[in-house]
Assembly symmetry: C2
Homo-oligomer: 462 residues x 2
């Protein structure tokens, strides 16, 4: 070895800190210096926990922080908060760094560079979008700001913009706090990662908890008062009064820094890496929301911002930087969400995604229960399978139900990960006892119906 190396990590959240920790674990301080640059006030926190902090299920924002900067320092990781990387100089193998709170600029050299710059929230380029009272939900600072507004200013009417996971979870948080909540979305259904028939069930569930859901209502602008604060959201031709606006419009990979340096990005906008999380540039690694992933069912590149991927990819990068061998095989598009009593899950491809990938599909929706029907507290759940014609290969699944419904998606995710056909799945040995499942588990019922459909389809159009 040519003496001590330096790993410089840009971004101190899930991917960055996982990589730093793994590399440190495998290579001692005499062999590797590990420095992490994080522009925010916090590192290593659960961004997915923000809605629960805002909703008041968690009292203290510190509870979302997995490890403090001090803990990282004790492990030999030099974590620098409020420190922003502003430029990557590949030829000089160095990164320009600025103290966010007004310090000077310096150049930090690296031997290995890890880019974990996360995602950038979409913000509508509309009048009033930056007004006071309009909040994004991206970093913990955003969550703290929203909660401060809720606690101090006691807003009554909240408009949430965007019906994806984050928008729905924020709507739940606001309902939990007893506020009047309107949710607007330009699409005709919430959760566009579901097929329309399953999305309609989610819409029903959201309305059931008291949210005024307005679909097909794209945001046109934000009205402000004489004090510059937001007073209303204009969407779908109407004006909706608002004391507080929460933007949950989705995110894109945060790659400005990488692109400016010439690091390759793919068609989704994410940084291109190989299975070991190496970029196309020597000595530069990337992981988390800023990278592009391979979808294991479609084979196509996708950008999916999710903490679980960020953690895994960061760990894989760290193992490899640390001299080990690990790979990230790709994603299956699995996601779960809970909105009050409603549970929603999906994995693989929906019908639209499958068609875009060139698959000809059959879809089946079955209604079943989470427990034996004769037990009290049994709840209904709907399971949809998206299946390839002819082969019967499982391509995707969606679940909408209540308690004990959504996590069943894991079995379906593992089934499609292993390229199972629905016919094979009818024989699966799943856990059965009355408190957990009817004697035919919903997954088995769905597989059976889908297998029958594949057979019928084959007979009808040989």
């Amino acid at each position: 070895m040519a003496g001590r190396e330096r790993l410089l990590v840009i971004g101190g959240d899930a991917a960055g800190m996982s990589a730093a920790s793994q590399a440190r674990r495998r290579r001692g301080p005499d062999d590797l210096d590990v420095t992490v640059l994080e522009r925010g006030h916090f590192a290593s926190y659960s961004a997915c926990g923000i809605p629960y902090y805002v909703g008041g299920m968690i009292d203290d924002a510190d509870d979302l922080i997995a490890r403090t900067p001090q803990e990282f320092r004790e492990r030999g990781i030099d974590l620098r908060l409020c420190t922003e990387a502003t430029e990557i100089d590949l030829d000089g193998a160095r990164v320009r760094v600025r103290e966010v709170d007004g310090g000077g600029e310096t150049w930090e050299p690296y031997d290995q560079l890890m880019i974990a710059t996360g995602a950038v929230p979409a913000r509508p380029d509309l009048p009033g979008a930056d007004a006071e009272g309009v909040h994004g939900v991206q970093v913990l600072d955003d969550g703290i700001a929203i909660r401060r507004v809720l606690d101090r200013e006691k807003p009554r009417r909240v408009v949430v913009v965007g019906g994806g996971y984050i928008g729905l979870e924020m709507a739940e948080a606001m309902v939990t706090r007893g506020l009047d909540v309107t949710l607007v979305d330009a699409a005709e259904q919430p959760m566009s990662t579901l097929d329309p028939d399953m999305g309609a069930l989610v819409a029903d569930a959201i309305r059931d908890i008291g949210v005024d859901l307005r679909l097909g209502a794209g945001v046109e602008g934000f009205d402000t008062g004489s004090d510059g604060r937001v007073t209303a959201v204009r969407a779908g031709g109407r004006t909706i009064p608002a004391d507080l606006v929460v933007l949950g419009l989705g995110v894109r990979p945060g790659t400005d820094l990488a692109r400016a340096a010439g690091i390759e990005t793919g068609p989704t906008g994410g940084i291109v890496t190989d299975r070991r999380m190496r970029t196309r540039t020597e000595r530069v690694w990337a992981a988390g929301d800023c990278v592009e992933n391979r979808h294991l069912v479609s084979g196509l590149p996708v950008a999916i911002a999710l903490g679980t991927h960020a953690n895994k990819q960061g760990r894989v990068a760290g193992v490899n930087i640390g001299g080990g061998y690990a790979t990230f095989p790709g994603v299956a598009g699995t996601a779960v969400s809970k909105i009050c009593h409603a549970e929603v899950a999906r994995t693989g491809l929906n019908e639209r995604e499958a068609a875009a990938a060139g698959f000809d599909t059959l879809g089946v929706v079955v209604e079943s229960t989470t427990r034996a029907g004769y037990l009290p507290d049994t709840t209904a759940m709907k399971t949809k399978l998206v299946v390839e014609r002819r082969s019967g290969r499982l391509l995707g699944a969606q679940i909408v139900g209540e308690a004990n419904a959504a996590k069943r998606i894991d079995g379906l995710a593992i089934a499609l990960w292993n390229r199972m056909t629905v016919e094979e799945m009818t024989g699966l040995d799943l856990g059965y006892a009355p408190p957990f499942s009817p004697v035919w588990d919903p997954v088995l019922i769905a597989a059976r119906k889908a297998a029958e459909l594949v057979e019928e389809d084959m007979r009808r159009s040989p």
Copy 2:
């Protein structure tokens, strides 16, 4: 076709009625006559639901009955209750039938014979085992009898004999009803399908709900009073007073009828069938608790009495009898159980079973939580993986925890069904959101630890 055929089914529970229904669905009454002989008072009920009826979670025994005899008759299935098959005459292709309530005997001819005679409960061959107040839990009549005793005689002290699933579920039922419950088992742990370390966790959970658990306490006899009623159970050298005794000592395949006719049974005592549920005898089929299964991990024959297998096998037999094609691939040994707040699950092979099949294994136990640790109502769960040395193939898994723990076994069952290695499993895309899982799902944490263990083992003993 040579005119109308007759399918005769012996046994009207899960396997028998599934077969009858499937065959009927595929072949009309002009083509196939379907007659089912059931010696009990009920058919097509959930035997697994009996503990919940005894415990009072279900008011009416009728709620456990999926379909009434009348409903079957309307579908063209001649279901005869209280009608016992007493002999199979293979050469004559006929079955001797006796009316249980005192009618005469007749011979019923068949073209296809379906044997679905279920399981026979183990009863200790000990003095007093047949005394009044000592009850088995096998058929719905048993459950009704126990509930009648509970309602009318108000027993106070109950002794449950046997710490398997049924014994534990009956103990829960008795605790739910506020009785003093002692559970005795000859083994040193409850649930012998778990490894001792996981079984110890179940023992703790059972004691936590107030059951007086006595392990290593084999039953030696039953004391009776002058009225012939049971007064105590003698076990492990002690005398335990009892107003009511429930036997949950496991079952064996109910094959007396088949054996007497010369139909082949295997080393487990169950009837041998092929994947289509055909016995080795022409025109004779079998399904459910009376058959022997192939274990998909060990490759060895096993007898596992479980409603979910009975339903699947019955359906497979019915499809084939009906002229279609379906197969039952084997079992993975998956089981789940709930005892008050405790949840228990297992799949594949435990360490003992794996060793018996010739596997050299590594075991890993991880403690994790069912939800993100910062959320309220998060509960701890322990996950054990049994893994083959060198290959890292997942051979088995066990879970002990509380709410939302046990059904995670399904993902592990599907992983070992597909012969995944723990290294492959570390990349699995499982559903993540704080109400459903920590950012590293317990399954992923366990897979990661196991993969590390496999690697270490390989380095230590190359």
